[in-house]
Amino acid sequence: MIIRGDEPEQIRLIKKLYKPGNYFMQGNEAVAYGAIFAGCRFYAGYPITPSSEIAETMARELPKLRGYYLQMEDEIGSIAAMVGASWTGLKVMTATAGPGFSLMQENLGYAVMTETPLVLVDVQRSGPSTGQATKGAQGDFFQARWGTHGDHPIIALSPTSGQDAFWETVRAFNIAEKLRTPVVMLFDGVLAHTRELVKIPDIEEVEIAYRKLPKNEEEAKLPFGDPHGDGVPPMPLFGHGYFTHVTGSTHKENGLRDVYTPEVHDRLVRRIHRKIEGNRHVYEKYEEHFTDDAEILVVSWGVTARPALGAVLEAREEGIKAGLFVPKTVHPFPGERMRELGKKARAILVPEMNLGQMILEVQRFVNDDVLLKGVNKIGGVPLTVNEILREIRGVA
């Protein structure tokens, strides 16, 4: 089969090109290397600040790995080309920022409906509209969730450092392959351009997942069936003589369009939901610090989780029982764990670089008697340890 990235030749190339060890690199570069280690061999994109270094790194590195870099005419074409390439068996990625992410939304929905694995990195910048093009933000939390139309599930991850970005990108590819679904990675302009230490591992230490392929003709004839009961249909790739029909219209298990029968739509869309909801173990991930006895719980994500940890550490030194909860997979939200932690906390603070987005998800899972407060900052400058610490002291 032709899913690329796992052949001995590819392993040999990676070993030859990238010596394991510590490197000083931008978050954007860490994303690119994570993709390369995960087996990404097709990148289609359109340059946009602050994501461009991902494209630049891929353009430089992919040909060394016999992979393909395409600079498309726009963001819409980029995600379209990714879907086409994914159906030929390539692992595919693009990176963009807010305005480009907006343009990609329709085809992101197409990828959800046609169950096409791909990784879409949104390096969040300030908005709405052009906003502050060069500054970081965390304003696309719900765009990732609800940007495209219709009832759809989505998986979105959010790393907290350059090192984390490397491994979360690998994880994004593995989830996309295992569940045959698009995965969004919500990165941000601050981490994207921060240079810090990133340890590049040996390729043997990296878990690499591959999509399920049809075992026989029968499975290949049902590209949208559910032969294994896990909601994940094996993917018959183009070019193997299966005569697969793929459409974004409501389709039956055999791929043929049926937009008239209510049950067909119901069955398809509910299975796609079940596939994501029922496989939480594949993607659910969060980090906890001092949550065992935390009376004041800080819930934060992405770049802001770092000053949040600093603030919690300082609060602890002052004798305040503060803890930190960081969802690493932000969609679907780790609601069950949030509910458990919420029961123990007296106050919950949610710092983010926006005017209050993830706080709405937190609110869904905590009782009314908990003091819930956002710590919000916009303008392109990240929250500081002191700004968050001040809020912790305020509710202590």
Partner: protein, 284 residues
């Protein structure tokens, strides 16, 4: 009955029987285009396993998807060429064909059309131009003739139509031809050439839509529309000596370009080889 039809039409072997009958209106030119495409595939003795057909949204997008029995990708409105670009890079040895309408490929998808031609990627585009948005109910298209009536230009069209073949030829395609559904044999020959040319190829087919276009422009019978095409078609050799005024309202038909230019996917793979060589990455 169905069995009888299947035995009478040799091209039926190229169709997805479970998807038939087609959703096309009686008298639609789409059937002619599907027939011409199947004949071109048949005459070239292409194995449908070596074809990937991509289409967008609208009546003409249905011509090959789902009806043509190959790997088919039915995509979002206007984006089929961009989807096909990804397919071609992943499967450089397959023939990647886009069949869709003028509204899909030249209006919302105009940018992808021009840039695929510029890039000269080895994709064959069969663009079915019926001068109108058929599936949404007969609205104004960028190809609607000056003065024609549509549901959104009920008095008359004051816009000038886009000359698709001329535009794509200028953008750098390897092969461009335009025919009408009244020129079936020429059309088959052109599709055959387009499928064999290495590089971006476009076959524009002017195709009748009696239901949405003809009915509002005094040609409600399909045959009237075909007669209109025949009467107003001008071969490209003759058109070269005609003034813009003389060409107003005429359909210039024939081969616009047939040339060799470096093709995108081979260039991409050549670049990869060079990079491999440069960094000493080839296996000894």
């Amino acid at each position: 009955m169905a069995k009888e039809i299947y035995s009478r039409y040799p091209m039926i072997k190229y169709l997805r029987k479970e998807a038939l009958p087609t959703a096309l209106c009686p008298g639609c030119g789409g059937g002619t285009v599907l027939n011409a495409f199947a004949n071109a595939v048949d005459r070239l003795k292409l194995d449908p396993k070596d074809l990937v057909v991509v289409s967008g949204i609208g009546c003409s997008a249905w011509i090959a998807s789902p009806y043509f029995l190959a790997d088919t990708l039915h995509t979002t409105h206007g984006r089929s060429i961009a989807f096909a670009t990804g397919v071609k890079v992943g499967l450089p040895d397959k023939k990647v064909v886009v069949i869709s309408g003028d509204g899909d490929l030249a209006s919302i998808g105009g940018n992808h059309l021009i840039h695929a031609a510029r890039r000269n990627i080895d994709i064959t585009v069969i663009l079915v131009n019926n001068f109108i948005y058929g599936m949404t109910g007969g609205q104004l298209a960028p190809t609607t003739p000056y003065g024609a009536k549509t549901t959104t230009s009920p008095y008359r069209n004051i816009e000038h139509p886009l000359q698709i073949s001329e535009t794509v030829a200028a953008a750098g395609a390897s092969y461009v031809a335009r025919w009408t559904t009244a020129h079936v044999y020429q059309l088959i020959e052109s599709i055959k050439k387009a499928l064999t040319v290495k590089g971006f190829s476009l076959v524009e087919v002017i195709s009748q839509c009696p239901v949405q276009f003809g009915r509002r422009n005094r040609m409600k019978e399909p045959a009237e529309m075909l007669r209109w095409y025949l009467k107003n078609s001008v071969p490209i050799s003759k058109a070269k000596n005609m003034s813009p005024e003389e060409l107003e309202g005429k359909f210039v038909i024939g081969e616009f370009v047939n040339r060799q230019r470096p093709e995108f996917v081979s260039e991409l793979n050549k670049l990869i080889d060079e990079v491999q060589e440069h960094f000493g990455l080839k296996e000894e």
